[in-house]
Each structure stands twice: as structure tokens, then as C-alpha cells.
């Protein structure tokens, strides 16, 4: 009784085979129905995300947020949607019409595609592919393509700049992200997300907290959210890649971004917070959906918290952060995890977790020491008198060739 989804699925399958449909056709129809139900559920959830986002950002900025329509402004997102739908739909002059129009679809559809492999409960998941982790990376990369297409097709310099920045950001942040993703794969001995959830006793956040942190940071960078939102930096390139989009086309980008944030949260929850794991989930599988979304929204809140608390980074700082800090750290972490994992073959889970946790804490401590040394050197360098400032008046006259 604890699994209504599969119950309905079986009932429908029996109904259809009862009508004389062949078995594989029934499976095909059920799969299509599953996709439609899942996508609709997520898109409806997306409407709630708009409200949540606006309400939370308002609180972070010491405002009240939407409060006019319905209790706590809960009808506000519907008003937003109506507004977006009745706005004039503009395609700028000189834009590449076809690419311009499919780019927003790309941005939203690739996010929806990621949910195909996320397990909702022990018995409820879209596809249990054995390469789910790589699939996530692949869909993320295709999603970036939507941003690039939008930036190029808009025939706008700001949009093109936004697209450039996106590429630089994505190419560099994908490296530490993939390395961080390797750690849960290594711990679970599988790339399938269901297998990774099954292996989480205890949760991987205790075994590999640093990997979780690196994955979260790099995911936020791939999302293009503050502090990594240089691809749409309002103060520099106005709105970057979606500067020319109006009405619902912009709405698709916006919905895609919000849903992508929730997707990343669900991924962090699945990979590091035990996914659908929770009390009584073995008896009542549907509870797993509830646990997954509770954990996902917890991470979603953290992402919003980071977004509204940090200023935007400069592009050189961002790329430096990825290449000089996150990538080496992730590599060292991966090597240490692999060595310790091999060395502790046959250890009890408690010892295993404690040693891994200790290794992570030691690595954080070492990193902080290195950073402090670096900061000291950097402060000294900045504090030094610069060559231009130390030039005397005579030097200056010599420089410009006057006496």
C-alpha cells in the first residue's frame, strides 16, 4: 500500500493488456505517461519555486516580498505567468530566428532530462542506468549549449559576451565537478544513482564532506548563480545571454534556472545526503519522495543563502578559484580517498567513516594553512610600493623625455 505510483502503473498495465494491447506497447505508453507526469509535476513545482525564491530573497534583503495576492502572496507566481504570457514576443532584428527560438527550450528541457535518473524512492525512479553520474555531467554540458545558442543568436554584443563567459566558466568548473563526483562513485563502487543511494550507510556527507562541498560549489558555478553569475552580470553586461528575450521565452530561462537549482539540490541530496533514505522508508516506499524533497529543499535553501550573501566574483578570480584551488584540492582528495579506501578493506563501517572523516578534516586544515601562507605572501606583495609610485620626479622627467 506504500507505493501508489507503481500500484497505479500496474493497474493501468493490466487494464491495457486486458483491452488486448500487446505487452511492449503497454510498456511504451506507460513510459510516455510516466515522462509526462514527472515533467508536469516538476513544472508545477517550478511555479512554487518562483514564489519561494521571491519570498526568501526578500527576507534576505530585509523586505517582505510578494504579499498582496492571496495569503503570503501565494498567488503571485500565477500573476507573473499571466504577465509573461501576454507580453509582446520580440525577435530582434538580425537574430538567427530558429536558434534564437530553440535556445530557451534547450535550457529548460535539459534540466528536466536530469530528473530521469534521480531515484525518488526504493521503487520509484525513471531509469536505473549504470552510468547515471556521467549522464548528469553530459546533460549539464548540453544545457550550457542552450545558453551559448541564446547568446550567439540574439545578435547582441552583451549577449555574446555572456555566452563567452559561460563557456569559460563551464569548461573550468566541470573539471573539479567531475573529480568530486568520482568520490561517491568510488565509495559506492557504481555509477548508478540507485546503487549510490543503496550504499549510503552512513550518508556520504560523513565520509566525504569535502567532496560534497566541492560538488555544491562547482554546481552553483554551472548554474550560473551568484556569486558565479558573471554570465548575466546585470551591472556589467546588463543581463548577458537573455538580454533580448521577452515574455515567456525569458520565462523559460527563468524557470529553467530555478528548476536547475532544485535539480542540483536533489543531486547533492542523492549523492551525499542519502537520497530517499529515512525512517520507515523500507515499509512505505512513498515516504522516500518526501525525504528526498525535504533534503533537496534544505540544499536549495543553502544555495539561495549563498546566492544572496556573496557579491559577484570577477572572472579572473572565478577561473583562478577553479584552476588553482578547487581542481588541485579535488585531485588530492580523490587520491587520498582512493588510497584510504584500499587500505581499509574489511574495516567496520564505523572505523571506515571515522578515518575518512578525519582525513577530510586534516585536508581542510592543511588547505587552510596553505591559504594563510598564500594570503600572507599576497598581502606583502600588495603592500609593497609599486614601481610607478616609487619613481622620483627626476625619473619621471627622464621617462617622458623633458628636462
Amino acid at each position: 500500500m506504500g507505493d501508489p505510483i507503481n500500484l497505479i502503473g500496474d493497474w493501468l498495465r493490466n487494464l491495457m493488456t486486458g483491452w488486448g494491447l500487446p505487452e511492449n506497447l503497454a510498456t511504451f505508453i506507460l513510459t510516455v505517461m510516466g515522462v509526462v507526469v514527472m515533467a508536469s509535476f516538476l513544472l508545477i513545482l517550478d511555479i512554487a519555486l518562483v514564489w519561494l525564491e521571491r519570498k526568501v530573497v526578500a527576507r534576505f534583503q530585509d523586505r517582505i516580498g510578494p504579499n498582496r495576492l492571496g495569503p503570503f502572496g501565494i498567488i503571485q507566481p500565477f500573476a507573473d505567468i499571466i504577465k509573461l504570457l501576454i507580453k509582446e514576443d520580440i525577435t530582434p532584428q538580425g537574430a538567427d530566428r530558429i536558434i534564437y527560438n530553440i535556445a530557451p527550450l534547450f535550457a529548460l528541457a535539459t534540466v528536466l532530462m536530469m530528473w530521469a535518473v534521480i531515484p525518488f524512492a526504493p521503487t520509484i525512479l525513471g531509469a536505473d542506468v549504470n552510468v547515471a553520474v556521467l549522464y548528469i555531467v553530459a546533460t549539464g554540458a548540453v544545457g550550457t549549449l542552450g545558453v551559448i545558442m541564446a547568446g550567439w543568436a540574439s545578435n547582441n554584443k552583451y549577449a555574446l559576451l555572456g555566452a563567452f563567459r559561460t563557456v569559460a566558466q563551464m569548461v573550468s568548473y566541470e573539471v573539479p565537478m567531475v573529480i568530486a563526483l568520482l568520490i561517491p562513485v568510488l565509495l559506492a563502487r557504481s555509477m548508478g544513482l540507485q546503487a549510490i543511494v543503496d550504499a549510503q550507510q552512513p550518508w556520504f556527507i560523513l565520509v566525504a564532506p569535502l567532496a560534497a562541498a566541492i560538488f555544491l560549489v562547482t554546481s552553483i558555478a554551472e548554474l550560473g548563480r551568484a556569486p558565479f553569475d558573471i554570465n548575466e552580470a546585470e551591472s556589467e553586461i546588463v543581463a548577458g545571454f537573455h538580454i533580448e528575450y521577452t515574455g515567456m521565452k525569458f520565462g523559460l530561462f527563468y524557470a529553467g534556472e530555478l528548476l536547475h537549482a532544485l535539480t542540483v539540490s536533489a543531486l547533492v541530496a542523492t549523492l551525499f545526503l542519502g537520497g530517499w533514505r529515512g525512517p520507515f522508508v523500507d515499509q512505505v516506499p512513498i515516504l522516500g519522495v518526501f525525504y528526498l524533497f525535504v533534503k533537496a529543499f534544505l540544499i536549495y535553501y543553502v544555495i539561495m543563502w549563498i546566492r544572496y550573501s556573496f557579491p559577484r566574483l570577477r572572472i579572473d578570480q572565478m577561473l583562478g578559484f577553479s584552476w588553482k584551488f578547487l581542481t588541485p584540492l579535488a585531485l588530492v582528495l580523490l587520491i587520498l580517498t582512493a588510497i584510504l579506501d584500499k587500505a581499509m578493506e574489511g574495516a567496520t563501517p564505523l572505523v571506515y567513516t571515522l578515518v575518512m572523516l578525519g582525513m577530510n578534516i586534516l585536508l581542510v586544515w592543511a588547505t587552510v594553512q596553505v591559504l594563510r601562507t598564500y594570503a600572507r605572501v599576497e598581502r606583502r606583495r600588495v603592500a609593497e610600493r609599486r614601481p610607478v609610485a616609487t619613481a622620483t620626479e627626476a625619473d619621471f622627467k627622464e621617462l617622458i623625455g623633458q628636462e
Binding site: 536558434i99 549504470n130 553530459a138 545558442m149 550567439w152 563551464m170
Partner: protein, 169 residues
């Protein structure tokens, strides 16, 4: 004809059509986007052959990395994005002839191979293909030497790019 074959034929037509568009499209960015569609078609073909690992690797590497870098390079060269000259030169028939000869030769060679006409063998149940691939890559009886050579080559390329980009003080 099974559903499987229909899907394969659609994929093949889309892949080949996109590949033709890559060489005939006027705008370089369009060519790159058609190339992405063609590479997607190849990924779908891998999926049809029940090779999920190759499917996602095809997407990650060819679409996620190579194509995006190509688009990046193309977008940086604004002037060549719209080429107004003729799309072909006088030697077009030679290229056509050569490609037909190559295709015909390959098709003929494959048709003489015994595996050409047989149906796809079903994979044994319960075998983790990814694990098998990973073991094969590092097993001394299988592909450890090519794997290591490729790693060394990539490392050399990495170091080389650092040397090229090194700022001389």
C-alpha cells in the same frame, strides 16, 4: 520491421542529414550546431547497441567539450561567421567520387564479414558492462598498454600547453 529497426533508420537518416548540413551550411555556427546533431545521432546509435557508457561519453566529450570549444572559437572570429563566397570549388566532383568510393569500399568490405548479417547477440544478464570495461582497461592481458600510452600522451599535451602558455619573465 521491428520498432528497433525503425528507430535505427530514423537515427541514421538524421545523423547523415545533419552531417551533410555540416559541410553545406553557410554559417559556421550553423555548421557547428549541425555537427552537434550528427554527434547526437552517433550517441543514439551507441544507445541502440546497448552501450550506455559510450553513449554518455560521446555526449560528454564530443558535445560537452569539443563542440563547445569549436563554437567558442568560431564565435571569437566574428568576420568569418557569414561567408558569402561559393560553397564549392571546381574539385567538388572529385571529392564526391572519392567519398562514394570510400563508402562503397567500406560497405563491400563489411558485407564480406561474417558478422554483417547476424542479429545482435543479447548481452548476458547481470554483467556490469562498465566494470568489465574498467577492468579491461587496466588488465595486463587486455588494454593496459594502449591505455597507459594514451595517458602519457595526454599528460605530454597538458604539459606542452602549459609550456606554450607560460609567461616568460
Amino acid at each position: 520491421m521491428s520498432v528497433y529497426q525503425i528507430v535505427f533508420l530514423i537515427t541514421a537518416v538524421v545523423t547523415l542529414g545533419a552531417a551533410v548540413m555540416v559541410v553545406s551550411a553557410r554559417s559556421l555556427v550553423h555548421s557547428a550546431l549541425w555537427l552537434i546533431l550528427a554527434l547526437f545521432g552517433v550517441a543514439v546509435t551507441f544507445a541502440l547497441l546497448s552501450a550506455p557508457f559510450f553513449t554518455v561519453v560521446q555526449v560528454v566529450i564530443y558535445i560537452g567539450a569539443i563542440s563547445i570549444l569549436m563554437i567558442f572559437a568560431i564565435m571569437l572570429t566574428r568576420r568569418v561567421m557569414q561567408d558569402t563566397g561559393p560553397g564549392v570549388n571546381q574539385g567538388w566532383w572529385m571529392a564526391l567520387l572519392l567519398s562514394f568510393l570510400l563508402f562503397g569500399g567500406l560497405a563491400w568490405m563489411l558485407s564480406t564479414w561474417e558478422g554483417f548479417g547476424t542479429a545482435l547477440p543479447a548481452l548476458p544478464e547481470g554483467v556490469d558492462q562498465v566494470k568489465a570495461l574498467g577492468v579491461a582497461l587496466v588488465s595486463p592481458n587486455a588494454y593496459v598498454l594502449p591505455f597507459e600510452v594514451a595517458s602519457v600522451l595526454l599528460l605530454a599535451a597538458l604539459i606542452g600547453s602549459i609550456v606554450v602558455a607560460w609567461e616568460k619573465k
